[in-house]
């Protein structure tokens, strides 16, 4: 027996060449940049499908006529369920983290790749598998599930509850379970990369804010997806092995009592929302990071309160684990617990308020350029405020009695999660496209895209608050009753649908712009935005090993713009220490 003593004590060294064959270079690649793009493309496909579905049910609502429904009630709910699931999981969880995070986290901290590239590849392929499994639900007998993206049992736990609860629901749970595994693997990679692979001088508090956001998001994913997995596991067992984790005794379907032993439907809701609330922050935190980065760059100012921003991200992540009960105020959960959840929920408004203040502070006394990236970042701030405001209503247990499960909730989470996160993705795309593809996207089309989207989404979701105030329950496919056929409601539905078509079709402009610019856009230099972070010191697009074989050394904070006395209005993080004159203004 021989023991080979490793020469390098501290590092495992893997030497690999850039693969030359197409399949290894672009398909089964372990390069974080390729994986990032793969994630992004998956999200583009998913967003097209998900938004098309939404147009279908919006059209149904606008043209609603009980005699000639555009979608049958089952189809309506199937389309609705798949819309929600596809967008929450396959778009909002993949593009900001898997897409931009994979591509830019290693570069921004000065690493050559993720810590575990093969796991990274695994994570993408599992995500794709999960997506395909989800889509397959449309094509099995009975079709896609109808139980909403939350999939509450007993509705989702028993095949005979209603049409469409057969294999479609099983595939749905299976898809979510695979997605959990993919996210866990991805999260481990993000965390280890951030902790252990930072370049020299890149202390934690010198990381650009997107890195902080990706890091905390990964921690949230790490701790929450395992719980969702457990929830899904029990659901599958109830569906197929006759257990009674969620199905209580004495439930009656088809006029006869089922043989179940007394489970608790609320158990599922707890497991789901323990994941579900952190999940909404998984969707939005990367967006906050990206937007902060862009706001600083195009205001030519340091981030206002960098440390406060970091602590706010951590606080949002931390408190986010203790507020899940605010989705369950009316669920039959203990009302004492509801009080606690409600108070905790309000405290999460505090870090959110800090972020908003600091974004405004970043713009204050700046030198603001409104290009497409910046417009979307500004739009994000506006949307985040609007969506956060309705959170103040919903977070109060007493007020939520009225608003729960009405269109008010739909409006709230679309503004703050759906649309705001989409805005951050768009902002990130206009901002990083030159780096990813070495070309610019078309600015004029970008602005048209922004304006149609911005006006469109507000026209969709502000009226929905009114419908919620009016008491319109969500997930209703029809309105034939005295209350809802009050002329106010169909008029609102028509207006919302018209606006939805504008907002969704505007995305076609974006997609065309994206693919056209990939090949035909004007060529971009290394650092077109005069931005300070590490991705801008390398070529556009970066080489296989990101920095061309040299290891960057970081000497500066991430947002050193307009430093008095400096020769130019930005100091790269890698500029020599002398680049900054003695700091005129102290740090906070």
């Amino acid at each position: 027996m021989s023991v080979a003593h490793e020469v390098d004590e501290e590092h495992e060294v893997h030497v690999h060449q850039e693969p030359t064959q197409f399949i290894w270079k672009y398909v089964f690649s372990t390069d974080h940049k390729v994986i990032g793009k793969q994630y992004y493309m998956l999200a583009v496909v998913a967003v097209v499908i998900g938004l098309t579905l939404s147009l279908m049910f919006r059209w149904h609502l606008a043209t609603y006529d009980p005699q000639h429904m555009f979608l049958s009630p089952d189809t309506y709910l199937q389309v609705l369920t798949m819309h929600g699931t596809i967008l929450v999981f396959m778009v909002l969880t993949t593009a900001p983290l898997g897409g931009f995070g994979n591509y830019f986290l290693p570069i921004q901290i000065g690493a050559v790749d993720m810590a575990f590239p093969r796991l990274n590849m695994l994570s993408f392929w599992l995500t794709l598998l999960s997506f395909i499994t989800l889509l397959a639900a449309f094509f099995v007998p009975g079709g896609a599930p109808v139980s909403g993206w939350t999939g509450y049992p007993p509705l989702s736990a028993i095949n005979s509850t209603t049409e469409g609860m057969g294999w479609g629901q099983t595939l749905w749970v299976g898809s979510i379970a695979i997605f959990c595994l993919a996210s866990l693997v991805g999260a481990i990679n993000f965390i280890v990369t951030t902790l252990d692979l930072r370049a020299r001088g890149m202390t934690l508090l010198r990381m650009p804010l997107p890195c902080w956001a990706w890091f905390v998001t990964a921690v949230l994913a790490l701790l929450s997806f395992a719980v969702l997995f457990a929830g899904g596991l029990l659901l599958i067992l109830d569906r197929h092995l006759g257990t009674s984790f969620y199905i209580p005794a004495g439930v009656i379907f088809g006029a006869k009592e089922l043989n179940h032993k007394g489970g608790s439907p609320l158990l599922y809701q707890h497991l789901f929302w323990f994941f579900g609330h952190p999940e909404v922050y998984i969707a939005i935190l990367p967006g906050m990071g990206i937007v902060s980065h862009i706001l600083a760059t195009f205001s030519r100012k340091p981030i206002f309160g960098y440390k406060a921003m970091v602590y706010a991200i951590i606080a949002i992540g931390g408190i986010g684990f203790f507020v899940w009960g605010h989705h369950m105020f009316q669920s039959g959960m203990s009302p004492y617990v509801a009080v606690a959840f409600s108070l905790l929920t309000m405290t999460i408004g505090v870090p959110s308020a800090i972020k908003t203040f600091n974004w405004l502070g970043t713009l204050w006394m700046g030198n603001i350029t409104c290009n497409s990236a910046m417009l979307f970042a500004l739009g994000f701030v506006s949307l985040f405020v609007s969506g956060g405001i309705s959170g103040i209503f919903l977070g109060q247990n007493a007020v939520d009695i009225y608003f729960h499960d009405t269109y008010f909730v739909v409006a709230h989470f679309h503004l703050i999660m759906g649309v705001a996160a989409m805005f951050s993705i768009a902002a990130g795309t206009y901002f990083w496209f030159p780096k990813m593809y070495g070309r610019f996207m078309n600015e004029s089309l970008g602005k048209v895209h922004f304006w149609l989207t911005f006006v469109g989404v507000y026209s969709v979701f502000i009226p929905m608050h009114l419908m919620g105030l009016w008491g319109h329950p969500r997930r209703y496919s029809g309105m034939e009753n005295a209350f809802l056929s009050n002329p106010f409601i169909p008029a609102m539905h028509n207006m919302v649908t018209a606006a939805a078509f504008v907002a969704v079709l505007a995305q076609l402009i974006f997609i065309c712009n994206f693919f056209y610019s990939m090949f035909k856009g004007p060529v971009a230099p290394e650092n077109p935005w005069n931005c300070t972070s590490l991705e801008w010191i390398t070529t556009s697009p970066p080489k296989f090993d990101n920095f061309g074989g040299v290891e960057p050394v970081v000497n500066h904070d991430p947002y050193e713009y307009s430093v008095p006395g400096a020769s130019k209005d930005y100091i790269m993080q890698t500029d020599p220490p002398e680049a900054a004159p003695a700091h005129a203004v102290g740090h906070d």
Partner: protein, 226 residues
């Protein structure tokens, strides 16, 4: 102005003070396999990344079992309809516990031997540990078989469902660890040692000890509240 400062000899050092385990010795770059020489993509992943990785990776497993265990406790708490029938714990469970704990002890002894450069000791203890682990898995299968004989089935009562679910989930994780142990066993002839430590040995035994911990936690869960 790209790459204002670059280092001719890349030396990666932990940016934030002393890092995790494995960062004791100062780095020795330039072993002839550095990026320049490799001509390609020389990926230098510090060893401590693997230690961080395993610790981070254990977190979701902990969360999974915590979620299932709290479901168990909640479900046990709402027995208003007397539909929670405690499961008769087979005596074999104690034998299995002993097997699992002693396998961990054996692996730990193996690791110590390695540190002392006592390779035969390492191999012997590692093999013993692995076999004890296999014994645990076999014992668990025995338990399920025994319960089945007694007419305790997966879906006949929530308490039974939970017992099977938790033990099977644990056993699957243990089997994953078993693959790692066997892999080390197979490769014990040519190991990379740094400071008397071998990455795979360390990682797989950390995982294995964690499985012990989960098992003891589950055992406690089954015992309290009956």
């Amino acid at each position: 102005m790209p790459l204002a400062t670059t280092e001719p000899r890349p030396q990666l050092k932990p940016a934030l003070g002393a890092g995790g385990p494995g960062s004791g010795a100062p780095g020795r770059g330039g072993d002839g396999r550095g990026p320049e020489d490799a001509g390609g993509h020389g990926r230098r992943v510090p060893r401590r990344a693997y230690y961080t990785g395993i610790l981070v990776g254990l977190a979701p497993i902990l969360m999974l079992f915590a979620a299932l265990a709290s479901s168990y406790i909640v479900r046990q708490g709402i027995t208003h309809e007397k539909d929670w029938i405690d499961l008769p714990l087979p005596g074999l469970i104690w034998v299995n516990t002993l097997l699992l704990v002693s396998s961990s002890v054996a692996l730990e002894l193996a690791r110590r031997s390695l540190k002392r450069q006592a390779l035969p000791g390492f191999t012997a203890w590692w093999k013993i540990g692995t076999l004890l682990g296999l014994g645990f898995v076999a014992g668990q299968i025995g338990i399920w078989w025994q319960l089945r004989e007694q007419g305790v089935y997966f879906s006949d009562n929530p308490s039974h469902s939970f017992f099977y679910l938790l033990t099977i989930a644990h056993a699957l994780h243990v089997l994953g660890g078993m693959v790692a142990l066997l892999y080390v066993w197979r490769g014990s002839a040519n190991m990379k040692l740094v400071d008397g430590r071998c990455l795979r040995v360390d990682l797989s035994s950390v995982y294995w000890h964690f499985m012990d911990f989960i098992w003891l936690f589950l055992l406690g869960l089954f015992l309290i509240g009956r």
